[in-house]
């Protein structure tokens, strides 16, 4: 019983990290229809930058924000100068794949090949105990962070004027320009928001997953599975998909480690067979 509870909680906290990555990817891939192979790289770069900022400032909060803003800038530059000029998938994949390889090599040059680790912030160290269950405080904190981000994203999308411009751009970008919305700028900001969330997730995830060259492509397929299972462009879908993939992947690796990819992709195949648009996707 304890095994199941602990593993489920681990799945939830991993799902929370996935949500930070996948909510951004859902915007970029599901809504803007850009295949960004470098999205996992944003997560990786976020981790490395957060590590360096933490070494200099000693503040986990500053590390999170600084790394997320820096990654957002990288994303905005990639979109504004290059990606927005290509509307088909093939050039997008080639270009972002190239960026992913460059980012990987750059991190090796700057931070070296040894895995790094970011210490859990002091106030979040330790575990709490409920009956026979002992569980790390930091992992619970990550779940709370993801819930806060989900609420924040929902409020931004539904309640702010920039959110309304974003939805108008997604509904009909040509008509949006026709009433004076600066669509190229709104699109680049949207891409930047996705990158911001991935970079932020990279720092928040670092104390759990570690920081190493290779985590970019370890985590990227999971994020794509979340977006496809949850439904393209749906925030609710990204949330439910992240929990599902997080729990299934964690339990699969704990129970039958040899079949971990099978346990991940089998539920995806089943969902797609029943509902080809994903759980919450628009038809």
């Amino acid at each position: 019983m304890e095994f199941w509870i602990i593993q489920s909680l681990n799945g939830l906290s991993f799902g929370a990290l996935l949500f930070l990555l996948a909510s951004g990817l859902s915007l970029i891939f599901g809504v803007m229809n850009i295949v960004n192979v470098a999205h996992g790289s944003y997560f990786m770069i976020g981790g490395y930058l957060g590590y360096s900022v933490f070494l200099r400032t000693g503040s986990f909060v500053i590390a999170c924000l600084a790394a997320a803003v820096a990654v957002a800038m990288i994303g905005i530059a990639m979109h504004f100068f290059l990606l927005r000029r290509y509307s088909t998938h093939f050039p997008q994949v080639l270009m972002t794949m190239g960026f992913a390889l460059i980012f990987r090599d750059l991190t090796l040059v700057i931070w070296g090949g040894d895995p790094l680790s970011l210490a859990t912030p002091a106030v979040l160290q330790g575990s709490f105990h409920i009956g026979p269950i002992t569980y790390p405080i930091y992992r619970s904190f990550v779940i709370l962070i993801a819930i806060a981000v989900a609420i924040g994203l929902w409020a931004f999308n539904e309640k702010t004027s920039l959110g309304a411009k974003l939805r108008a751009t997604v509904d009909d970008n040509q008509m949006a320009t026709g009433i004076g919305i600066n669509v190229p700028m709104v699109s680049s900001l949207m891409f930047g928001l996705g990158a911001f969330l991935a970079g932020f997730g990279g720092v928040v995830g670092a104390p759990i997953l570690g920081i190493f060259a290779g985590i970019d492509f370890d985590i990227l397929p999971l994020a794509f599975v979340v977006v496809i299972v949850g439904g393209m462009g749906s925030l609710k879908g990204a949330a439910v998909g992240s929990i599902l993939v997080g729990v299934v992947d964690t339990l699969g690796k704990a129970l039958v480690p040899d079949l971990s990819y099978f346990t991940l992709f089998l539920p995806m195949a089943i969902v797609l067979a029943i509902k080809p648009t994903g759980l919450f996707g628009r038809a």
Partner: protein, 231 residues
Amino acid sequence: MLKVIDIHTYYGDSHVLQGVSLELDKGSVIGILGRNGMGKTTLISSIIGFTPPKQGKILLGGVDITHVAPHLRARMNLGLVPQGRRIFPSLSVMENLRVGIRKQSSGKWTEDRILSLLPRLKERGDHKGNELSGGEQQMLAIARALMTNPSVLLMDEPTEGLAPLLVADIGKIIGQLKDEGLSILLVEQNVPFALKMTDYVHVLSKGTIVHSSLPDELWDREDIKTQYLGL
């Protein structure tokens, strides 16, 4: 207000507009008539900038806007009521109104004035754009364009698919806008409606203007009506 000088517009290889010129004076309503596929909507798209012309010039209030980005044209007082309304479905009625560029301080089309002109929209304020009837969507498309405080309004088939009573309502609104001094370029399939609303009409066929006259004169030209308008 608006001057179109010998524009040529292409969709890929197809040469859709083949040298169209027209002029729209302040406070006047000019009609563009013609069958489907003759280039009426392309003319609107060229003026708003969705499909910029390859040759020719478009002047708005004396300023050359031929190569200006579409979102900046909307800020230069050019308003669009597009074919098919193109209401943003995931935005509420009020969000549809408020999402575009607004110059409320300088212009006379404040949100309150627009809503008093189109009171039905106020009642539907919280509904999503795709929950409205066709007539309400058309009202919303007009209101959305007015929110940008245009001096020139491009209207592409505003009566399309509407019941006669609603067509009369749209006619009343266009009359009011004209009285306010707006210049309107009105593309229509509904010939009797267009002839009633306009000060001058052009007939478009295969990308060129084949007839221009006062509305009454066109009404008497059976040859033109048969050959180019299918009446």
